[in-house]
Symmetry: D2
Subunit: 308 residues, 4 copies
């Protein structure tokens, strides 16, 4: 029996998937807007898109209060030969932007985001991301994995992803982050996923990547903020355990929540059993949050998220 | 201790709630559209609404296929002094309707829908609806209850709702339905809720009230179509039981599904226990379906529903 | 059409259900044991029951640690002519109790528990309990309702249940509780249900009824301990809201958790919407907890519960 | 950076885990009994275990009807030096077996079961099993993988598991099954997992491995028996999709159900999207079913399962 070289093949298999995704979506973009709610925005924006030959694929909007609140809209659309027209499109949009005092961003679907995954010892969240990625369910460029442990090296490298081992602890936090920043810059990373990375980040680091760092916390926040949530859940005798994915801010486990889920436990489940059950929730909650981020579905507003 | 007269008071309490709901929503309407997907619809409709002074409260859209599918949109909006302008609004809209070959309906939120609830012996679904109604969570006029049993009379009448006992069986189906139709006409009913009404309706009756009859079936359809689903679920040894709310068509339990939910069971639950567990699901599934219908959130498309 | 007198009939209808329940279960009892885990307990207890002609209906056991932990067992059984033999049964059991240093209680199913429901303004949890009670799903004697508001009087009295209005506030806490204690004694109440009773109880009161007071808290504890959990959930931007039923201790919202559940919310749900969604969870979580308590399924161990 | 040889290491890593599991459980066994319900069984069995020095770890029982039904019990226990005593234990038990006409089996936890995984093209269920296995959550010997495709070869072989490619189709069913049987015999396989193996098995094959073949079906049975359940779920417009794990019998998708679960879908999810969502349910449902089987928690009774 012929044994294929796993790493190389998987690499080219994934590259192929990404290529075809980019080609299929070469004319697709997303327009994300927020502004003070006021009459006429939707009319103006949809007229603009129509005038520029856009076909609207999906559109979601939300207002915190239709009478003087904040307004949000996400429109996914296609324009033939988008690449050639993108610059003009954005420049034409300036008029509307100014008229309604909009914050607006155009995102191009074929420009897949570059991800750096941070992980410590427990590999389950990293593995879930890699698995979804291999299956073509996570359309991104997983550019590198950074870890303070060697545990996951072979798994990562077998998929052709560079693995950087950077030992870390409290004392050397700044040096460690310097190295990480260099890598993030080198790989032009768009989003940092903390897939059970058990090191506290410095305020400077967090500030540099505002709304770009997604964490998974192993409790249904705001319950069990901080360390050892499963042990504390067990000691409290809860009947549900959960996981929370959120953007990282400088208040520990207090950033805008993207997604949460729970699972039922009972008196027979000790802290160890809760941890096992919880890992399964962590995996799916983080994967959903990352997917929504990659699809530009999440808008951060204050300390909350709108997920379209 | 002073004992209040329950029926009368509750009646006036609910009337008060409805009055205030209608007054709060006197300027609010919903525009429901479906048509062949084509560029420019959203631009045209939103410009139209803007030009007529509308403030958009909520907007949802969906296309079965952005390249030549069917397009659906539901826009909830407010226009000052809507009542005076409604006629003009609808007549002005004719131009757009024709241009894009739209099916379009304006619904006025203050015109609360009139409901007839049909029930047989088991009162749990009726009670849930009455309970949500008393709580102000079901904004409708429950105009009458029709039953082939006397079981729920006192509960219904104590809330000031007329209760009509019409004995029914296979042989007298047409006579029974004639009486029911008279009542429906008399009360100008908009929607018929079969809250565990265990009689088969004739094709004529169903046809008369197309997409106006909502049923609750006590299984997760298409499993266990027909009679005695809990017994059959028990005999099959399923680990989940469910309920399904759907519009009634002339194919038994085959109409467009609005909502479904399930609950876990295990080997210790016999058919009787499953029935008890199931009743709780039936209650909430039907209540959700009815609420969405009252809010004009459901569009029937072929044998499916779009729920905005 | 003859209009029945609702209150009276319902009363007799429920009485009938209770009578038939008691008659069906006249030979049924439950034996609840906890002790240090040690070999031979199950053998001794099951031999004892066999020797006394018992037929075991259900048996559940749990050990915190099979090597030197705490052991719990709940056995439901039937013995012909139980009433005549109960005294002898309990006295014969003394030997085993002493041999294994057991804490053991015999509960007789036909002796249905007497409940006092405490409620403030929001009636949804009370209504759920009454509804389950009417349906024959909550086999108890709801002996009285105590409230610091008049809101639910008519609903309660229409079912033939005495309703006591005892205004309450911080200043008169002790006087209020004296009156409540008198009623509890007068009606020989076994269990107190706080069905959204929004007054803090004094340590003395709580101590008097240890493991007899069941509360429903409107959050998934330990998140949002204390006041206004829905507002705080909304402000935190959570994606799940929940409810928790627990025994009341003198640490606010820190008592042994019996049951919890959650529901999904999103950015469109404001605090008011969360409250509505949450009420539905509160209803079912409290009803489950009460049912388990009535069936003697809950054993409190430290600050946790074992639910068999 | 030193690159470890993945396959070899993982193999030894898993071997280590299994070794330590077997050593930790060398004194642990499970006794599974079913018989006609009759007084005295529990007393006799627990006395027997006590007399043989057993410490009961967990005990679950169930009776289809305490008055003349079928009785089931599963007792997990430890006996010092179990290996030496196992033979005597089983032979001593014969007396009780005969007295109560029991069907009884002793299972020894350290004798981990040998698994053959069957898979076709879609690898998600296989991958989930391998992942749980690597994590130490699936204590079994995955002895071989059999497939009618080459797709998963490298993944499987990289973990040191033999991979057998046996092309299959309707015409050569018997020849294919002959080869499969040889492998099953060669590896002394205890349980066959059909992890999305898309070939029909012959009645002979199924009969040979009664209650030893576990399948995952991609619908909540009995809805959508047979081929293409996601397409049919999409066409029916269901709001929930599900997966079912069951023992294979000769009635297609009609075998005893072990576990089911569902996920919510809506009108935006086409058949392809439902398939993606469904794969995640399939993964977890199959993994749970396999785990319960490995832990001897499942008793097949008629066409149902009791899961302790």
């Amino acid at each position: 029996m012929y044994k294929k070289q796993r790493g190389i093949n998987m690499k080219s298999y994934i590259k192929e998937k990404l290529d075809s995704f980019q080609s299929e979506n070469k004319n697709r973009a997303r327009l994300l807007i927020n502004c003070a709610d006021q009459p006429g925005i939707v009319a103006a924006v949809s007229k603009f898109l129509f005038d520029h030959g856009a076909n609207i694929i999906e559109s979601n909007q939300y207002s915190t209060d239709p009478h003087g609140g904040e307004f949000f809209i996400r429109i996914e659309f296609e324009i033939p030969n988008l690449k050639e027209k993108a610059k003009e499109l954005e420049s034409d949009f300036t008029a509307i932007k100014e008229q309604f005092a909009l914050e607006a961003t155009f995102k191009y679907v074929s420009e897949v985001k570059k991800i750096a995954v941070f992980v410590s010892k427990e590999p389950h969240c990293l593995l879930e991301l890699l698995w979804e990625w291999q299956s073509g369910d996570l359309m991104a460029d997983i550019s590198l994995v950074i870890s303070n442990h060697e545990t996951s090296r072979e798994m990562v490298e077998s998929l052709g992803i560079p693995y950087y081992y950077i030992p870390a602890n409290k004392e050397i936090r700044r040096e460690v982050e310097e190295k990480q920043k260099e890598l993030i810059e080198k790989y032009q990373v768009d989003v940092l996923i903390l897939a059970r990375y058990m090191q506290i980040l410095t305020p400077d680091f967090v500030k540099t990547y505002q709304h770009q760092i997604i964490n998974i916390h192993h409790s249904f926040l705001p319950a069990f903020i901080g360390a050892k949530p499963y042990e504390r859940a067990y000691n409290r005798g809860v009947k549900l355990i959960g996981a929370t994915s959120h953007y990282v801010t400088n208040d520990l486990d207090e950033g805008p929540i993207i997604e949460q889920d729970i699972s039922r436990v009972d008196h027979r489940d000790n802290a160890e059993a809760m941890k096992k059950i919880g890992q399964s929730i962590e995996r799916s909650v983080l994967a959903r949050a990352v997917k929504w981020h990659l699809e530009d579905r999440i808008i951060v507003y204050g300390n909350k998220t709108i997920v379209f």
